[in-house]
Symmetry: D3
Subunit: 250 residues, 6 copies
Amino acid sequence: MPMQLQQSTWPEVERYLETSAGVIVPIGATEQHGPIGVIGTDAICAEVIARGAGETAGALVGPAIAVGMSEHHMRFPGSMTLRPSTLIALLSDYVGSLAAHGFRRFFFVNGHGGNIASLQAAFFEIYNEMRRAGFADAPRVRCKAMNWWQPEPVSALARTLFGAADGSHAAASEVAVTQFVDAANIKSAPLDPPVAPRGGFYNSATFRERYPDGRIGSNPGLASPEAGRRLYDAAVAAVAADYQAFLAEA
Amino acid sequence: MPMQLQQSTWPEVERYLETSAGVIVPIGATEQHGPIGVIGTDAICAEVIARGAGETAGALVGPAIAVGMSEHHMRFPGSMTLRPSTLIALLSDYVGSLAAHGFRRFFFVNGHGGNIASLQAAFFEIYNEMRRAGFADAPRVRCKAMNWWQPEPVSALARTLFGAADGSHAAASEVAVTQFVDAANIKSAPLDPPVAPRGGFYNSATFRERYPDGRIGSNPGLASPEAGRRLYDAAVAAVAADYQAFLAEA
Amino acid sequence: MPMQLQQSTWPEVERYLETSAGVIVPIGATEQHGPIGVIGTDAICAEVIARGAGETAGALVGPAIAVGMSEHHMRFPGSMTLRPSTLIALLSDYVGSLAAHGFRRFFFVNGHGGNIASLQAAFFEIYNEMRRAGFADAPRVRCKAMNWWQPEPVSALARTLFGAADGSHAAASEVAVTQFVDAANIKSAPLDPPVAPRGGFYNSATFRERYPDGRIGSNPGLASPEAGRRLYDAAVAAVAADYQAFLAEA
Amino acid sequence: MPMQLQQSTWPEVERYLETSAGVIVPIGATEQHGPIGVIGTDAICAEVIARGAGETAGALVGPAIAVGMSEHHMRFPGSMTLRPSTLIALLSDYVGSLAAHGFRRFFFVNGHGGNIASLQAAFFEIYNEMRRAGFADAPRVRCKAMNWWQPEPVSALARTLFGAADGSHAAASEVAVTQFVDAANIKSAPLDPPVAPRGGFYNSATFRERYPDGRIGSNPGLASPEAGRRLYDAAVAAVAADYQAFLAEA
Amino acid sequence: MPMQLQQSTWPEVERYLETSAGVIVPIGATEQHGPIGVIGTDAICAEVIARGAGETAGALVGPAIAVGMSEHHMRFPGSMTLRPSTLIALLSDYVGSLAAHGFRRFFFVNGHGGNIASLQAAFFEIYNEMRRAGFADAPRVRCKAMNWWQPEPVSALARTLFGAADGSHAAASEVAVTQFVDAANIKSAPLDPPVAPRGGFYNSATFRERYPDGRIGSNPGLASPEAGRRLYDAAVAAVAADYQAFLAEA
Amino acid sequence: MPMQLQQSTWPEVERYLETSAGVIVPIGATEQHGPIGVIGTDAICAEVIARGAGETAGALVGPAIAVGMSEHHMRFPGSMTLRPSTLIALLSDYVGSLAAHGFRRFFFVNGHGGNIASLQAAFFEIYNEMRRAGFADAPRVRCKAMNWWQPEPVSALARTLFGAADGSHAAASEVAVTQFVDAANIKSAPLDPPVAPRGGFYNSATFRERYPDGRIGSNPGLASPEAGRRLYDAAVAAVAADYQAFLAEA
């Protein structure tokens, strides 16, 4: 059977559930990624890596969440954000829907740092709701999120490829993965300075003020489809392995 | 520039906004579509047709909403649903985010009948929120939803191709479009009876009871990639035309 | 026993539930209806027709919902609106309260097109809530809404009486029903043009701009108490029949 | 012009607002009132007294809120309740809608003790919302609620008529008012004991346990249409006077 | 064991629950209390009296709710408010958490009149939620709130000490209790007039306009630590007695 | 003036705001801390350290949030939790209230790891709300959270004092701080094994299963008031320094 929920029929899902209660859900964002990174970068990376990991691990992959929590990017045209409270409600509905069919282990492949807090908050909102609603199998429901760029093999490769110029937003590594995915859509624009400033931020105003072209600490001009392929391979392997370990937990 | 928001950079969106305040957003569903229709049928159709229409009309296409309001399908494995209240909150965030950048005309290409009520409700929730928040340009914000299968040329073609056996859920026409999109993933399974029973439904229990394999009134066994191509072409043309008329309204 | 919940005692309701699990709930709106239509038109029509149908069908009639979703009328003094999300919460409480006592079939007589989306959205919100809360009898709960003006005998009569000048807001037919209900409160004012323009609308700003006196496509100057009586009779018969068919469904 | 919003046209409301920014809103409940009190007692009393006071004071009367906060009555068939949070949202929409047109002084005539907390909570929720939304005229918005049975002339009359047997739920006085309103619908049933026990309650379980037939401290068998008429007259006068004092406040 | 939840271990609480299902929760406010009353007055009084009563009655005392519903004080620097809807959600979580462990009788010691409506509304929201969620022991859950200044011995003592100059906000009695609690933090400032004006209020604008220094009807200059000690003793005794009566109820 | 909001008058806060727009808010939790750690550990530590830092830095300290997000501890008696969504609403009200008076920099001293996600989510919910409500000074509002145990001097000291046996829940270091604060309330109970197992968790069921006495990786038997004093001193210095750096940021 196909490893994507969207490409499966309900009888295929019924059969899948006879042998597995695990599912992978990609979650990204729709937000500016500097002058040459596309707005869908986080969603594209999360989705393609989740699908690759699903193929590797024999796991069903649910529909991607394309818009995440990107309030801090809202001063750049095209950026979209869910309120954290909306994202929590959305995640509750995703998990609750699949839990109704027997899924019990929910593995989120995350492509956007800004989602982490809402994801973690949502997991406990979900545990709380299920406990209070008296959902019989609530104790067996487990949610986990993993940022695709964080496993040691992936972050080590990014350092090897780009050094400190990988950066932390509109990173060379994530732009590279999108170039690998869609080599026909590689952007070109002046990057001034080549490596963007580093630091933190608060709201959308401080973000734009500190990072006028949207990048943090990165030089995405270093990205290439080939680098993207290597990062993709590393991420898929790491995510698949982590998912399998998650399923194997007692 | 690309016609998909996800494939654009923020400076590209900034330039787009100099000449257009319109955007197309596909919305589908993740729900059973009978023994041979894939769970992502509604999302796949909405997204591909929205993208085609965007290319035709020169319109930016936002990220697809892949999970919709499918409560009535929840007795079939793999179906997912947002609560209507969650979907309303999500749509408010989508529209509100893009409105902050100057988008004013929001055209939803809908792939799922079950979304219609929540879409319409959301539009008025959005108008209400913007009015009460004192959003200065609230009077110019307009939202419209269109079901891709409803324009006369599309529905006429579906009747020509399938007659009454097109049906109203897991329809031959929508299955055909998914076969056109992904000819490598055509399913085969017994359909008994060939044409499913017709009728209405209430909750997920009545749905499953009345339509045990998930279809309503349809014989998706009649679908073919070629029929899907013709329906796709008709729908893209109709959606593009309707979008342009929407933009041209005074 | 009386057929209105408000006029019944709780022991009377207890007895009613021994033989019926059905209830009729009128829902209207509080919004401008042009220069001579009263603001309560939708609520008045829904309530009087629901009560008539209740008498005919032997059905209990619950308290009317007098304020509905009328955001688009908010630029006319006196119009009131619930946010769709509030209306959904309200409907959930109505249905949930009565379901706690054993009511299972909820038939809404609707007097306002703007309520339809919120009603449909609410029904699925309710099914979702009951399913997730583990309400034992959730599968038997059914909600249905009917617009009193839509049954063929009613719409045919309106066409006969007023032709195209019946219109779609501040319609001659609904104004006629209010005149039949309260012949002492018939308004008179210039209608210029006699038949208002037709078309659609988005938010309250576009509504007022396109329909400066509040009417859409109608000439309510054609209304009369006698026409109202005939429409009332037709609607009561049609609603009662539809309710009985709803109760009789397997 | 008529003194009910529902019976007015929008131009009539526009004219009313030229001389007054006040409005009266009746709010009742739909809950058991013992063996011979009707379920709509609180709504009926609030509505009829509000209308009478509106006529007396020249005040516009808005649509009645027929279902209130009656959670504690939910073990008696036919009782309906809004969650306090729903009632707060509803009241926010009522006041917000009318405030958009220029109404500034909102006078609620309340027919149900169980509504008081939600009404008061709602008033501050509304003040908070308006302040935070930057509603320019927020400082001038004032909300007040009055229980129709509390003014000294009314409570004194009730004591004169019924003494301690008036009681505090399914009271002789409120039942009398409903008998005055609808003398054709006077119920008769054994009341055992004639005067119900007194006391407090917590949830619906403790209520039913302590007050098995639904009454608290009352003997509604003492009620009569004539007593109802006297109470109605006293309440109308007191409510009208209090409303006028409210409008006259600096 | 200690009588404060915060100072207990979980095994101590487990043992407590073997003999009692009661808990006391102090709730105050963080709002201006005139020129010499501290902003934490309501929270300080509620907490210290609740703790004293807990010691007297052998009752566990939960963590204090320090910020309450103080919208009307928001024009004075330092005042904080929860929206009523937030306070209701908070109280639902407090009660729901402790009910999960077996607590059944919740006694709130309240230090702020502005909390009363939200507390009462919350109790019924909680009863509603537990009933609808099917919480098995819902019928046994009881919530009660008591204002520490209202028992006859306390109010009589306040009258004896301060007469009418006790007032109703920034009252001499509550300021005295805070002076007793923290004699090192007694403020001094001109009070002009010595006794503040009396009356009602609506929103924060009317409050500040009518009571420019924040006091209502009070002369807190009369307060003393010794008066505070006497009031504290009276309140502790009264609260402990009322709590014990609450526990003893059938 | 005192450095606690609760101990200040409104004129004192008004003067404080003339020279500073910063405020410190302690946030803890009310949850089991193993056999000898008190349930209020996180709240006690956060509050005492915040107050110390406030004194050091000349910063106003707001009222402590005593109950946090502790869903995973709910299988241990006495643990309390807010839903993440409630905590977000609460934080929005805290920040919004103080922002209305001119506070702009909000520094949360956090005592509980489980709060982090909700805090971060809340900050962006707040930025979103202020932006959408058109709050004029929204760009200047900044929120930051700091875990008191994370600054290098504090964590280094904890390692020196306890090594790996400090652990990650019911940690020796936090128990030590509570012993320093209240040396009269030091608990004693068998700890078996002396150092608790390490690891992760999901919901309350997995937590209790893996950590039967509530501790994770810790031996709180190593705690002492003297160790607590040293940790307190280190934390106060680090928090004060970090707060001052936060205020000094451009």
